[in-house]
Symmetry: C2
Subunit: 519 residues, 2 copies
């Protein structure tokens, strides 16, 4: 299934025709128009420049490749007048930190992206993951391979550039470098101070982000808000603004029967059956319509504000088409929409195993049954507290809780034993929709795309956004720019060229927001 | 855990001292004494003979090895005066059929054993599966390898002979050949006509047994009862007599969520979770104490008779020690005993799978969850009817039933879809304890072993005994002779030499039962 994002050249033209009042009081060139002019005149060079950046291998463990990426970005920022440096910590990928200070500007926006990418199995790619290759359309939509454009060649926004990190998450970096070049060429002065924060190990789970904040927190003061430039846009192609993410944790539960597999004939009807025990345990946790029955599971949810509720009510109905795409005649919690359901914590069975199924199934009662449960958290939920609630529920079902496989004495003492292994995780984060910067940001997105953005109180997925909102105490929102069908994390990752243009336009609008448009 | 069977030389001596009245009216040598004398005088040759038979590879698919086994057994029977032949069918292992007609005898007992063995992974064996090797004890009890005994060497009943089929199921064959040789040497005339029926593909599921009965049924007329010489003895070492087996069938259930794995963050709390659906479905089938809740599941069970109930009541309590061995502080249906529970049909989860657990677990909602259910049947239960009851239950839980993975139209039409794949199987079989032959058979076992046998209305496991009881309409019971720790089906399968002596003694007693001891 592919759908074409609806950011059309026409919409861009409409945006181009808007007249933006001089933000600093003096008449100066329109930032969005400057970006348009520049990318019209330099389209081929921009695409070639993006291919150059994508050609540098960028898996977090590969320190040579990571260093080349970081140096490339720092050097390009510096060449465009940004005070850029590499922040380092032992054993960590460097952070590329840049600061663009605009005389007279009173607002500082921090832009986050990551320059590392997921590891790639080269054999699964049509071309290599670090051999950026241009196609006239998506490969699976019949796109044909073509050479990178020469200077002056017309560039089709439907072209796709294939490479690791094309969609996740180097497009914002090239987009920002392009805007800076456009502004320099057209003598546009931004209205906003900008902090560039480019991480190099997001795909490895951002293991040093908190440490970076501790070590370099002084350089991250005075930021009005953060914009996370990551993730794909909505499948409808509408520009998206997310005010939060869910947190994440989970646990693995193992229940025990006999010490060894038992012949299902010789012992069936007498020996406890771990698969049945686990079924009863899981069924007790959640009812048939998806409500979690664990005591207290919903008690710590922070309530949605009026703005969040209004945003949810304003969202168009995407659920019906999503259900058709996914083959679903029923959803949990219906008639609540997907967007509404994501404002609640969730408990899902990510994995089940007992004995074997298929050709390996044997005539036995397996000695154990195991479930891996995923928990997504909303604002207010503490990951460890939520795990403890699940464990308390298991105990209330008559189970003795252990952390390691039980020894014989434990087995003979307790009729029902469950081993629970807690996973790591982190809390949700949510930025209020009532923050003063919001109208200006929404207006900039509208201006860049020509359409009304979709506004979500929270993403369903998880990012360590809480480090920004709860450690740095700075608001943070997410504005994705990549096409939704970018194959992120998979083989043949790609960016639609039109989405790079959207990034350029978005940043041009952001950097020239009227100074009054919220801090 | 190893326990020593309690068939001691002392018990054998006690049996030896019994005086059996001349069954045919004329004084003749005592059959059991003849067997004892013969195995005392020829112990080393018997063990070497058994090793010779075990050395012939006997996996059902290996037609050359199978043919060698069948010819070996036929020829040895013939050499001992039995009218033996090979029954054949295209593509089937031959059946070795022998008939010993005793002038004047009015009773005919058929003895069943199988000469084929389970396939073997040679690499898992201490020696090869078809390299019979003698040890002074069980290997895992510290036994030491030793040469096969030379003629005249003393033979320790605790020795173990290791080879495929040592325990399952060639011991009865060598035991019978030995008794025939002993009777010939001591001029003992059996009191019973004997039919020898040695199958060559039991471990492959006896795929041609019904066909053999159709093609050669005329040769299997006039049999008073069948004795199945298969399986291990009770772990206590007490001789065992089983009057039936449970039948077996099963099914695989798959329930469906979305057409592809979904990100557990972006969709968790909205997309149906197959693991949860399956948990609810399985939990609805059986309560927490092991009672199956499927309508009609127990309705077709044939009631136990007074003799069966009395036999159950007489069984010593083995459950406590079994629970200790298996690490169980609880059993299904407690306080009912294992033996009692085996007289009911059972429903067990043999396998569960949804997504992955352990290191392969991913942050997804898997698209399916699957359970493999095993069903054991008792007398009166029809396999297909029992499967239909499970399916009707699934439908009552709101599921649409399919036989293949659902297409998109089906997915979009039905909120809950379950694919059910039915397995094959066959019904239970039970022979009444009130049959007239029973007292004589029990007496022969008691005589051979010196102890009171354990009598079970049914085994928990399954054998196609129904072909004998329901197709040939002849009673059938099971009398195992192998040590319970014979590693049958596994690597390092073995027979305790003392158990071969038990087999010899048992057959001597059986073949010289007083003619009045039941037909």
């Amino acid at each position: 299934m592919r759908r074409s994002p609806c950011i059309t050249p026409l919409a861009a033209l409409v945006a181009l025709m808007l007249v933006i009042p001089d933000p600093l009081g003096a008449q100066q060139p329109n930032g969005l128009a400057a970006a348009h002019n520049y990318r019209d005149a330099h389209a081929a060079e921009i695409v070639r420049g993006y291919a150059e950046l994508l050609g540098i291998p960028n898996v977090a463990g590969d320190s040579a490749g990571i260093a080349r990426n970081a140096a490339y970005i720092r050097d390009h920022l510096r060449a465009l007048g940004v005070a850029a440096e590499l922040l380092t910590l032992p054993g960590a990928s460097p952070v590329v930190l840049g600061r663009l200070a605009v005389p007279g500007a009173t607002r500082t926006v921090a832009l986050y992206a990551h320059y590392d990418g997921q590891p790639a199995d080269s054999s699964a790619w049509t071309n290599g993951p670090w051999t950026p290759t241009l196609y006239t359309r998506a490969i699976d939509a019949g796109g044909v391979r073509r050479a990178l454009p020469a200077t002056g060649d017309a560039v089709d926004p439907e072209w796709r550039l294939y490479a690791r990190s094309a969609g996740d998450d180097k497009a914002p970096i090239t987009g920002l470098l392009t805007v800076l070049a456009a502004f320099r060429a057209a003598h546009v002065t931004p209205t906003t101070n900008v902090v560039f924060f480019f991480e190099g190990e997001e795909e490895a789970g951002s293991p040093h982000l908190a440490q970076y904040f501790e070590a370099y927190g002084d350089r991250l003061q005075g930021i009005d808000y953060w914009i996370f430039l990551d993730g794909p846009m909505h499948p409808s192609g509408r520009p998206t603004l997310d005010f939060g993410v869910r947190g994440v944790t989970g646990l693995a539960i193992t229940v025990y029967g006999a010490v060894r597999p038992l012949h299902s004939g010789h012992y069936g009807n007498w020996a406890p059956v771990p698969g049945d025990m686990l079924a009863h345990l899981l069924a007790s946790m959640k009812n048939d319509s998806g409500r979690v029955l664990i005591d207290g599971f919903y008690d710590s949810d922070a309530p949605l504000g009026a703005a969040e509720r209004a945003a949810l009510a304003k969202l168009p109905d995407f659920d019906a088409s999503l259900e058709r795409e996914l083959g679903l005649a029923r959803t949990e919690g219906a008639p609540a929409t997907l967007a509404e359901r994501l404002t609640l914590p969730s408990l899902t069975v990510r994995g089940l195993k007992s004995g074997n199924v298929g050709p390996l199934a044997r005539n036995v009662i397996p000695p154990t049954a195991e479930a891996v449960l995923g928990i997504r958290l909303v604002q207010g939920n503490d990951p460890v507290h939520m795990q403890a609630l699940v464990e308390a529920h298991i105990v209330r079902q008559g189970y003795h809780l252990v952390r390691d496989d039980p020894d014989m004495a434990t087995r003979l003492r307790y009729p029902r034993i469950a081993k629970v292994v807690r996973f790591g995780g982190y809390p949700a984060a949510r930025t209020s929709m009532d923050e003063p910067f919001v109208p200006g940001l929404v207006s900039a997105i509208r201006q860049a795309s020509g359409v009304e953005p979709l506004i979500f109180p929270t993403l369903g997925g998880s990012l360590p956004l809480y480090l920004f909102t709860d450690r740095l105490h700075e608001p943070a929102v997410i504005v994705p720019v990549a096409n939704y069908d970018d194959n992120q994390h998979g083989a043949d990752e790609n960016l639609r060229v039109g989405n790079l243009w959207y990034a350029v336009d978005l940043f041009a609008a952001l950097l020239t927001m009227p100074d009054g448009a919220g801090r």
